[in-house]
Symmetry: C2
């Protein structure tokens, strides 16, 4: 291992990195060394490499866990500015470590990084070596609350993991550290003893005092304008906090306060450091901005039509951005070409993680010329009595650079003006495309965007090259520092990773010749077919429809499926655990037999050619380690009864103002019981609900769920069953977490549904109350999903129609208020509206017409009821009688002022038409009817009397009493119909 | 610089060292990293190399001092066990750094290391590169109070210093740290800010709390049997203490308490670590002991006489041990040969730092045979009446393995025995020498001895080879793991550093041929002559008699003098400063002009051939840096008035129980004033004494003296003068520190003498009182020197004869007691006796006969008086009258029991002889006389009457009254003579 550290050090120093020493106070990661966290600030260049033993008290395991250490070794590299080829440099470093990157499957898998405590974030990847995460690679965007300019590239190697993979050992203790001495021999005792200290023996009171002392010292040093010692004290604070946390001594409130304090200090340190560097006039100089590419000035002329090939080369895009960017480029290109006069055929785009390709068929060689009329003054003002041009006309002509004699008369909407007609000479295709393509690149945007070395561009990942050919003519494109060329990049492990492209024709085949499948659909099909073929060999199948397949498709440029196996003994674990690990962590496709039972195999999809045996072995080892971990958690959890596990959630923070997870679980249980009472449950369901509510969220205290959060609910059911809980209780606990996503399965039991509702009502009310509602694309607590969940559950349980959304929300609000948190009624109204919007969206997504959706929205507080109404509406839309009724009711509504009450004195009515209406209404309203259909039956007799009433009666009679009676009658009709639907919203769509 | 660290890392890993990371809590030195301080304990092997940024808050200088940093970089290597050639390995590492060790002057200069706080010590060297200390090289003997077995070799490189030398820069900030970035650019801001923190801004109260918390946590962790985290907390304690110290916040008492606490914890950590490793069954295995060399069994026969050559090859001996070992070997060899029958000529020894050579001329080829008589029973008991052997004789014969018939008669002192005569066959010279030489090596001992890889040997430095030749016949010698061979080692930089030796003849010439001057006298002469020659070239001289020349002679095997220069502007500094730096730190010979004024030159003496220009440049740079430092201190000190400087000494610890230096200075002042009063000073001297006493020791608070302690007194005079103090006061402050060594100059003024006495009385009383008296070779406070100083001063100032040693000591005791420290009268008697022994030694060293010394010793409380008596004795020894008087007085003393009182009733006397004695004594004792001479004149008339008395009178008369009167008369004579001398001690040496 020490040779590896030396090799990395040598590699990076040879590339101009300075070497510093690990920091001499405990840090949790190399990032915290001032050589990173301070040096990435400000305009000075910095290129550094260092080893950093990183201390994470929480990971202490007495040296027993094969993959987890209280101190692990990071190798940290900072490249400031981004050198333009950091990924290539990084791959070179792997080769320096002796890793044959051509034989292995090395991939850059989206992984973004954010540390709110440091006011820092960045975008980047985790780097996979045959499925093993060996490095974190980040473009650092912000630190200490400051936007970084220039951006730094941060590369953090996990050295123990790399060593375990390289040496093929299963436990960190078995790593050969130095000749003749293993990691365990060298550091085993320290690992054990420090684990003891962090987990069992550190004195809590002492550590609390230390925390206070360090924080106070940091504060003083900031006031003394000494950022370096201040930073050291923030680090000491942070380590002490971690020790307290590992000792289980941090309450939710303390955690929130401590974080706020450290965050504040860290930001001040960053600010002060920047100021001081500025005062010192940036001793290391400043990074110059990359020069802009020269704007093209010459454009080749072409003959005839040609296809356009435009490739935007990027570093690995996040999978969902691959598809999204292809679509965006297609749209932008189409729109922008449409704004020119350049003739062209279809626009098609293709995308892989590293490129978006646009192909435009049959591009004309030039734009046609175009005539353009420029309007001057009115003709009447353009010529004087003598027919000579007036001053106005002369001025216009001069402005246009023509002789006044050239002015013509132009008719615009019947008014005569003078003006001139100009001919715009069509530009050559190359010139037109040059501009259009540049704009497409400049306007690229993603969900989350970042900066790199480019002075102007901003996108989800760096754009590194452009390729633009019209037929075989290069199209010069200059965007910021980028200039298009005639080369592309193929697999990084290819003999020559940069290849020349001579023509746009057959580019996809050209790429295929270099092992790149640019067409997403083809790539997807290839993933599915090759995986299925492999699965068959072990008598299994894979799920080709899984969203995972889409993700895999966008993680590779050339799918290269391989079948791996794992020890069948892991099949003793619940299948959800195994598949969750495969999917979420490893992007492996599970293999099942015909009955759906899991087989001890998986399909991994590597990128491009590789040594299958090596890559398989690597992936199998990773999965084994993960399953070993999972087994460890499983066994440990089974030793802990649910009741005790539940005690553990008191230590888990939920949200700083809303308290711990335990507090939230208590609120949920309380709300669920109120809902249950309101719903009038059976004795049996009541008992189940009470039992399940008492255990709500207990599995969040299990090691398994702490590790694999998506297994919440699943593990609750498993552990509850094994602890001897009734199946109904276990199922209710499972149901409670449903639905997990929009369109996901909903609870199947009433107690489960009530818990699930209570969960979501609490989440919505609590977070809205503390002001944490979703904004833009940010919805960290998944409130949109929670709102949609409420809707989905209530739709699925018409029997619970009593439980309206407002009722649920106000019940939840009571519990939140009981914790001393103010919940305004306005907030509840806002949440109700928020949920209503979710319901609206569901209906729209289901294809229900806008008007109908709007019409039933007043019923959305009880979505099952609204659903029924929607269904009835669907049956009525073709019914002309219904249309007449609707029109009549709408007419009533239009006429009666909103503030008119429904009471009237029938004795005041005089006209037959109004008496008729009164009688029919009295009868109809006495009958009533449930739902829309019932109402329609009851109300239909009113259609004619209403119409007659309006034809025959002057509503606004001069006599006040009469007028009042007439308006009151109409208002009564209106109010009777109102709860059924928003009749106005139906508009005139129904008129036959 | 980073390349250098990498080069060292690579070099040592290629030699099997493991690499660890710097420790992640602040340490003051690489030694404190558990990879050293814990791993050197116990039997496990360990070979490690690492960088250690070492934090010394006290060295913080805001980055302004060119050579001093709050964090400097150590490169630390531990070799456990000693590989047998660590020096050679180390030199290889210098070459790996690009240092041409053949061109430079690389030397191993004695420097031992001890850290009482760690319970640790070792012997070794500082390694010099052209006069610059670049490495500490230590054989670690003890750590945490435990004796180390095996011993570890610790090599600590001072990386910044090496870099400054290699790169030829004058300020650490100018070191090129990495390509394009200097040390200052990389770390300048941190250096400034951390200096601010350590010196100015760290919060004292907070740091005190941290210290307590860390110490308490260490205590708890020890109780939990977790040595690793306990050690970390001891380190945190230690660093916090250093911060407090740098902030000037540690009082003497606190320092003592803190050290005791840390020492105790550190020892417990070491003990616990050892226990735990043992419980873990020493995971790294145990170091096997080196096998013993096979004992020789065959010895070559030689013809004729040959010289014996015996060389003991060592690593660099401390200079004083070179001479001492040569003498010891000569003595041992002479004695041991004398115990054999092997004929041989003279035994001569020669020595250099790396070898002791014994040459024995004309060794006979074999021992002569020897006859040996074995005595049996008396002849009278050996034969029965028939002349047959008795049982006794038969038994004796059987025991001797001979036939009874072979028994002969032997006369012993006139008694006849039976016995046999045996012939001991003489052994061959080679066999005899083999044994003798082995014993000589096994019995080598020095002042301070150490262990290395050898399983049995112990000496001041490792013995690495033995060479033994009798003529050209190898003498096999086996001592422990060492076996003598026929090779020697020459300069390590020689093409072939190990050379074969074929014959003992002309070995010194042989060595001379390899550039080694083995004869110390020749080497010394060479040092003097070559240095003098060089000095002449700049019109100067050197002091060839200086003890420094002896030291230099023993620091090199081949003197290679070179003349260096320094900037004449440094001559503005007091010459003592410049010469002190040259001598003490650099072992350079100062060059003076004919008037004794210092010239801006020096002579350095390198070892062996080297590139003079490089070595000169290196030495000049070192001296420049040191003078730059000194100038800095000088200027800073001159800005501080003596009074304020004196305030600073309150912070300096003297001895933990005796308090601060300020307290000691106050005691000294008090004692001096009492002594002054007792001595009856002149008004002027009184005033001077008072003024000087008020400033006593003030210069210990100066930066110069803190740096160069031997300048105490010298700087006091300089600074006092420049602060406008009267010259007499300045001189008294200078005198106060005299004499600096045995035989050194004593004070020239009475006030100075009084202060000097007070200083030493206080030192003696204080340290004896707290039990810190010298033991064996250990005298850390220089009490022997202090005692000798008291004697020297009192001898030099006969006018102060009133001030007896007991008076001085009891005065000092009063002051010490005033501080609450018990001083037993027994202790004072012990100190007085201790001082008396010093006086005795002075006289003996001066050649005064033992008897005379003993005779005057009762007067030694006033050494000037005793001196006078010695002088008078010398004049009397040839005087027969004096001899008669002495004999008479001795006779009186012998006869009178010690408990007999001097009173007698003259009326009881009856005999004429006794009446005569009574009358003569009455007359003589009435006259009296001063000193011995006066006494002799007065007492001489008693000689005859005493002799007559004894001839004529029976002292022990039967009548009690008469007997009492006679004894009383004699006792009166005895008591009158007693104070003059110890007459008995003169023995019979004077009898003519």
């Amino acid at each position: 291992m020490q040779d590896a550290l030396l090799a990395l050090t040598r590699y990076w120093t040879e590339r101009g990195a300075m070497v510093v020493q690990p920091f001499n106070t405990e840090v949790g990661a190399g990032t915290l060394n001032p050589a990173t966290v301070l040096r990435v600030l400000g305009p000075e260049p910095w290129r550094v490499a260092y080893v950093e033993p990183s201390v994470r008290p929480d990971d202490a395991r007495y040296g027993e866990n094969p993959n987890r250490l209280q101190t692990h070794t990071q190798f940290q590299v900072i490249l400031k500015p981004d050198p333009g080829n950091p990924q290539e440099l990084y791959l070179g470093s792997l080769q320096a470590l002796g890793i044959d990157v051509a034989a292995h499957d090395v991939r850059f898998v989206e992984d973004n990084w954010a540390s709110p405590a440091l006011g820092a974030w960045g975008l980047g990847w985790e780097v996979w070596l045959d499925g093993l995460e060996i490095t974190q690679f980040t473009y650092f965007q912000q630190a200490g609350g400051q936007t970084l300019d220039p951006v730094s590239v941060e590369i953090t190697y996990g050295v123990e993991r790399i060593m375990m993979a390289l040496q093929g050992v299963d436990h960190f203790k078995d790593i050969a550290y130095a000749p003749g001495i293993s990691y365990g021999e060298a550091f085993g005792q320290a690992e054990y003893e420090m684990s003891r200290f962090y987990l069992d023996d550190a004195d809590v009171e002492t550590q609390r005092r230390l925390f206070e002392d360090y924080a106070a010292e940091a504060r003083r040093l900031l006031d003394a304008r000494l950022p370096v010692p201040a930073h050291i004290h923030v680090l000491k604070c942070s380590h002490t906090f971690n020790v307290l946390d590992a000792r289980g001594a941090v309450s939710t409130t303390e955690r929130a306060k401590a974080f706020a304090r450290m965050r504040g200090l860290a930001r001040e340190v960053a600010g002060l450091w920047s100021e001081r560097r500025s005062e010192l006039e940036h001793p290391l100089g400043t990074v110059p901005a990359l020069p802009l590419a020269a704007a093209p000035t010459e454009f080749a002329a072409v003959d005839g039509t040609h296809p356009l090939l435009f490739e935007i080369g990027t570093e690995e895009l996040p999978p969902h951005e691959v598809t999204r960017t292809a679509a965006a480029v297609e749209r932008a290109l189409t729109d922008k070409l449409a704004a020119t006069r350049l003739g062209h055929g279809t626009v098609t785009t293709y995308a892989t993680p590293r490129r978006v390709i646009a192909v435009v068929d049959a591009v004309e060689p030039v734009e046609p010329d175009a005539e353009r009329t420029v309007r001057g003054p009115r003709a009447s003002a353009a010529f004087d009595a003598d027919g000579n041009p007036t001053k106005a006309a002369a001025g216009f002509a001069r402005g246009q650079g023509v002789d006044p004699a050239e002015l013509r008369r132009i008719d615009v909407d019947g008014v005569e003006y003078v003006g001139i007609t100009r001919t715009d000479i069509g530009k050559g295709a190359v010139e037109v495309l040059s501009g259009v393509l540049g704009e497409v690149v400049a306007e690229l945007r993603a969900d989350k965007n970042m900066r790199w070395s480019d002075p102007k561009l901003s996108f989800t990942r760096p754009v590194r090259w452009l390729l633009a050919l019209l037929g075989s003519t290069p199209v010069p494109v200059a965007v910021s520092a980028l200039a298009a060329g005639t080369t592309t990049r193929v697999h990084r492990t290819a003999g020559d990773p940069v290849v020349a492209v001579s023509t746009a024709d057959g580019y996809l085949d050209f790429l295929a010749g270099h092992g790149i499948v640019a067409d997403q659909d083809k790539r997807r099909a290839l993933v599915v077919s090759s995986a299925a073929e492999l699965a068959v060999t072990v008598g299994g199948v894979i799920d080709g429809d899984s969203p995972l397949v889409d993700e895999i498709t966008n993680l590779v440029e050339e799918p290269n499926a391989l079948l791996g196996s794992f020890d069948a003994r892991y099949l003793e674990l619940p299948a959800e655990i195994l598949t969750t690990v495969m999917r979420k962590h490893q992007r492996y496709l599970p293999v099942r037999d015909a009955d759906g039972a899991l087989l001890p195999h998986f399909v991994a999809v590597a990128n491009g050619a590789c040594d299958h045996d090596k890559v398989r072995a690597g992936n199998e080892a990773v999965l084994r380690a993960r399953y070993e971990d999972a087994s460890f958690f499983w066994r440990a959890d089974l030793r802990t009864p649910p009741e005790r596990m539940k005690e553990g959630i008191a230590k888990l923070a939920f949200e700083e103002r809303l308290g711990s997870v335990a507090q939230r679980a208590d609120r949920i249980a309380g709300v669920a019981l109120v809902l249950g009472a309101a719903a009038g449950l059976s004795e049996e369901d009541s008992a189940t609900l009470r039992a399940a509510a008492g255990l709500a969220k207990f599995d969040l205290g299990s090691q398994m769920v702490i590790e694999l959060t998506s297994l919440a609910g699943t593990m609750a059911r498993e552990y509850a069953r094994r602890a001897g809980q009734p199946e109904a209780v276990a199922q209710a606990l499972f149901d409670m977490e449903l639905p997990r996503s929009g369109g996901g399965a909903v609870p199947t039991t009433v107690p489960g549904a009530l818990l699930a509702l209570a969960d979501r009502f609490d989440l919505l009310v609590g977070l809205f109350a503390v002001g944490a509602k979703p904004t833009g694309s940010s919805d960290p607590f998944g409130l949109r999903r929670a709102g949609a969940g409420v809707v989905a559950i209530l739709r699925a349980f018409p029997a619970l129609a009593e439980l309206t959304v407002p009722f649920g929300l106000s019940t939840a609000a009571e519990k939140v208020r009981a914790q001393g948190i103010a919940v305004d009624d306005a907030v509840l109204a806002e949440v109700a509206e928020f949920v209503k919007r979710r319901y609206e969206q569901v209906l729209l997504d289901a294809g229900v017409a806008h008007e109908q959706v709007a019409a039933v929205l007043p019923l959305a507080d009880a979505p099952a009821l609204a659903d029924a109404t929607v269904a009835e509406l669907a049956g009525l839309t073709a019914d002309p009688g219904f249309a007449g009724l609707v029109a009549a009711l709408q007419r009533v509504r239009r006429i009666v002022p909103a503030d008119t009450g429904a009471g009237y004195d029938p004795a005041a009515l005089v006209e037959p038409a109004e008496l008729e209406l009164h009688q029919v209404f009295t009868k109809a309203s006495a009958v009533g009817g449930t739902g829309l259909a019932g109402f329609v039956v009851a109300a239909s007799p009113l259609t004619d009397p209403i119409n007659t009433f309006f034809d025959a009666v002057l509503v606004m009679a001069p006599e006040p009493a009469l007028r009042a009676a007439r308006l009151g009658l109409l208002a009564a009709v209106r109010d009777w119909a109102a709860p059924v639907l928003d009749w106005q919203a139906l508009g005139t769509t129904l008129e036959a």
